[in-house]
Every structure is written in structure tokens, then in C-alpha cells.
């Protein structure tokens, strides 16, 4: 099937854009499934997304057409319009374009759809990256296999009865840890972390940025 010469030109000359879109989509999908690092997965997601955008933009292309901005002879405020206005006292209204002229412009609709998709794409990429940072904060890694190991061991620990460490508020946890272990305990306490310390603490942190968050814990305990 694939040694057929006409099929080769059919796919790789006339429809190269579409074939490359499929290839990029496969690369992105493969990265999302098989890559180990979460950041790599996200880059794969972005590649997947741009592949879709490539598909849409390729659809909007017309042979021999120009960009979807009116040429000056069709432009309501273009040069020809001004000349006409100067000649006649009645300002000339822009005309509805004929079908033959419509074929001279690229299709603007896919461009609009994809333009917003790109900006929303970067916003969602930022959201996904923030979740990655949060995972790193809780588990110390963004590698999938290490993450699975840690989750499994945590599951074991919680099922064997010692889940008390997990959901305790920070103020109580902190009281137990001596000050000198402050730096080392982040390694130890991998699992005991998923508590939220509320927006008030966050606000206090942003107000007094350089100070450690000791005062809040002091007044809480």
C-alpha cells in the first residue's frame, strides 16, 4: 500500500501539513503518556496543542489568497474610500464583497478560534506548572515513578494505622519539632504535608516577606 508512488505524493506533497500535524500530535501524545518527568509531560501537552492549532490554521488556507485584512480597495477607510469621499459629497458606503473577491482572502474563522486558544493555553500551562510546584513541595520530586512509590508507601502507612500525622494542623505539628531540625525535617516529613494554612497566613507572609512565619505559630499555640 505504501510503496504506491501516487499515494506518496497524495500524502506528502499535497497534504504535508496534515501529515505533520498528525506526527506532532503523536509526539505530544507519546510524551504525555510515556515521559517520566511532569514538566516534560506538560511540554508534550503544549506540543499536542500546537499540533491542533496547526491543523486548524492549515484548514483556513486558500491557494493564492491573501491575509484576512482588507486590501485598500476594499477597506472602508482605505485610500480609495477617501478619494471617493472627496469627489462626491455623499460619503460612499462600503460594499458587500462579491464571491470572487471573497475567495481572495484566507478564512478568518479558524484564526480567531486559535488566537484565543493560544492565550488560554498559556494560562492553563501556568496552572499545570503551579500544580507541579505544589507536588514538588509535598513530595520532593516531579518524576512519575518516584511519585508513585511515595504515594504507595504513604498509602501503606495510612492503612496500617499511623495516619495521625497526616492531617494535623501546622501549629500543632510545629510544636513537636525542635527549632534546630527546621531545615532537615522537610526531607522527613514527606507525607505529612497536605494541610492548608489558610489565606491569613499567606497574607501575613506577603506583607512581611523577609520574616520567617514564626509569629503566627506562636500566637496559635
Amino acid at each position: 500500500m505504501f510503496e504506491d508512488g501516487s499515494l506518496f505524493t497524495h500524502l506528502l506533497v499535497d497534504r504535508l501539513n496534515y501529515v505533520i500535524y498528525v506526527v506532532l500530535l503523536m509526539i505530544g501524545l507519546w510524551a504525555m503518556v510515556a515521559k517520566n518527568n511532569l514538566i516534560k509531560k506538560l511540554i508534550g501537552m503544549s506540543i499536542f496543542q500546537t499540533a491542533i492549532i496547526l491543523f486548524y490554521v492549515s484548514i483556513g488556507v486558500k491557494e493564492g489568497a491573501t491575509i484576512p485584512i482588507y486590501l485598500s480597495e476594499h477597506d472602508p477607510h482605505g485610500e480609495s474610500g477617501e478619494v471617493n469621499n472627496a469627489q462626491s459629497s455623499q460619503p460612499e458606503r462600503p460594499q458587500v464583497l462579491e464571491a470572487s473577491l471573497v475567495a481572495g482572502y484566507n478564512n478568518p474563522l479558524p484564526h480567531v478560534l486559535m488566537l484565543t486558544a493560544i492565550v488560554v493555553g498559556v494560562a492553563t500551562l501556568g496552572l499545570a506548572l503551579s500544580i507541579c510546584l505544589r507536588i514538588y513541595r509535598a513530595y520532593g520530586t516531579v518524576e512519575e515513578d518516584e511519585l508513585l512509590l511515595k504515594l504507595e508507601s504513604e498509602e501503606l502507612r495510612s492503612s496500617s494505622g499511623s495516619r495521625t500525622r497526616r492531617w494535623r494542623p501546622r501549629s500543632k505539628r510545629k510544636a513537636k519539632v525542635p527549632k534546630s531540625f527546621e531545615n532537615t525535617r522537610s526531607r522527613k516529613g514527606d507525607g505529612d504535608s497536605l494541610t492548608s494554612d489558610g489565606s491569613q497566613d499567606a497574607k501575613a507572609r506577603s506583607r512581611r516577606p523577609s520574616k520567617p512565619k514564626k509569629s503566627k505559630d506562636g500566637e496559635a499555640s
Partner: protein, 249 residues
């Protein structure tokens, strides 16, 4: 596992290529997408309806105004969510970073940036305001404006950038952008049209309904620009500092 995923992906790719075989040729003017009545309507009537030469801007801000407004809301919510995810939560790891950040901002870099940041911002405003007749508009201008603040944060430090555009102000501006957009929509509703039907704004403006749509589109783009500027900078600020808003990249 890896091999299985590879075979799966290959299978999906082959299916898609099989579908590609039946596509119209690339750039075929007779293809269904290019000859559809919707896009032909946009190309033929945009000049008459709105007097905007750039069809993409007209379709973006006028014909598909709802879509753009809610996309802006999505950007805003994503910014809020990033902040919410990173502010709370477990204790941060002690740093064994692979990067070394110098605390003194470099003299040459800061002076160059001092020169080019105003140019970038003027260009961003130009792109925003000139989006009707050339490529550009609220999204592009907003991102360029946000990038200028990111540049300040990169060349000095985040504190300098935040003293100019604090994170609270970011979200105020972002919310204001959506309010401008929705406000223009509500105003046109107030004057007897439907939501985001700008032609009815001609009742209070001394211009024709077409030019009312033209100028309302500019207002809408300004709203989009506000939101995108603020959220792009807020994204950078929260991600580079892991939510602490100090000593970032």
C-alpha cells in the same frame, strides 16, 4: 509499559493519517471549510457591518464576543487558581537549587532595560490600539505589556517589579478588564440591544451604528488587554517564587 504506549500512539497516528488521506488538498479554495457560508459571510460583510479592515479582530471582538469574553474569564480564573494553589499548602522545601541567583542587579542589563521597557510598553499600546487595521489586538498587546513587567522582574528583581505592579493591583486590574468588557456588553443591552450588540451604542455616541461597533470593539480590546497584562505578570511572579512573592528568579 513504554512499548505499549508507543504502539498505542502509533495506532492512533495511523488512524489519523488514514483520515488525512480523505482530506481536501492543502490550500484548496473549494474545500468545505473555505467555502462555508459562515466564513464567506464574515469576509464579505465585515466591512459593511463594522467598518473594521482586520476581519480577525472584527470576528473576535464583535461576532464572537461571547466567546472572547469567556476566554478572558478563563485566563482570569487560571491566574486566580495559580495564586490559590501556590499561596497555601505544605512547607516549602529547603533550597538545594541548581541555579545561583546574584543579588546585585547587573549595571549594563538594568540600564539597557531602562531604555527598552518604555519602547516595549508604547509598542504594546500601539498593537492594542491599532489592532483594527493591522495584526494585533487585546491579547497580543496585553501579553507584550505583561512581558515588559516580566523583563523588569528579570533584570532587577521581583521586588522592584512588584513595587510597580503589586499582586493585589494585578488582580484588581484583571478584574477591571473583565468589568470593562462586560460593562460594554451591558451598556448595549441597556440601550435596547442584546448583550454585546454594540450597534445600539450609537444612540449615545455621535456616530453611525457601524462606527459604534468599531469603537466598542476598541473598548472591548482594552478590557482584554488589561486582564491579559495582569495575569501574565501574576503567573510569572507566582511561578518563579513558588508563591512566596520574594527572591525569585
Amino acid at each position: 509499559m513504554k512499548r505499549a504506549s508507543f504502539i498505542l500512539v502509533l495506532f492512533i497516528g495511523l488512524l489519523l493519517i488514514w483520515a488525512v488521506k480523505d482530506f481536501p488538498e492543502w490550500g484548496d479554495p473549494q474545500s468545505p471549510a473555505s467555502s462555508s457560508p459562515v466564513s464567506s459571510h464574515f469576509i464579505a460583510k465585515t466591512g459593511v457591518d463594522t467598518e473594521v479592515p482586520n476581519m480577525v479582530t472584527a470576528v473576535l471582538a464583535d461576532y464572537r464576543g461571547f466567546d472572547t469574553m469567556l476566554e478572558t474569564v478563563v485566563v482570569f480564573i487560571a491566574g486566580l487558581a495559580v495564586l490559590a494553589i501556590l499561596l497555601g499548602g505544605p512547607k516549602r522545601r529547603t533550597r538545594d537549587r541548581d541555579f545561583i541567583v546574584e543579588f546585585e542587579p547587573d549595571l549594563i542589563v538594568t540600564n539597557t532595560v531602562r531604555l527598552i521597557v518604555p519602547v516595549i510598553q508604547i509598542f504594546a499600546l500601539y498593537v492594542l490600539a491599532h489592532g483594527h487595521v493591522s495584526p494585533g489586538g487585546g491579547f497580543q498587546g496585553g501579553v507584550a505589556m505583561g512581558a515588559s513587567f516580566i523583563l523588569i522582574a528579570l533584570s532587577w528583581d521581583l521586588k522592584t517589579a512588584l513595587s510597580r505592579f503589586s499582586i493585589e493591583r494585578c488582580f484588581t486590574v484583571a478584574g477591571l478588564g473583565i468589568l470593562i468588557y462586560a460593562g460594554i456588553g451591558l451598556a448595549s443591552m441597556f440601550f435596547g440591544g442584546e448583550f454585546l450588540d454594540y450597534a445600539h451604542l450609537a444612540k449615545i455616541l455621535p456616530i453611525s451604528p457601524e462606527m459604534a461597533r468599531y469603537h466598542a470593539m476598541l473598548g472591548v480590546e482594552i478590557g482584554v488587554g488589561f486582564t491579559v497584562t495582569a495575569i501574565m505578570f501574576a503567573l510569572y511572579a507566582s511561578l518563579s517564587t513558588d508563591g512566596r512573592m520574594r527572591d525569585g528568579l
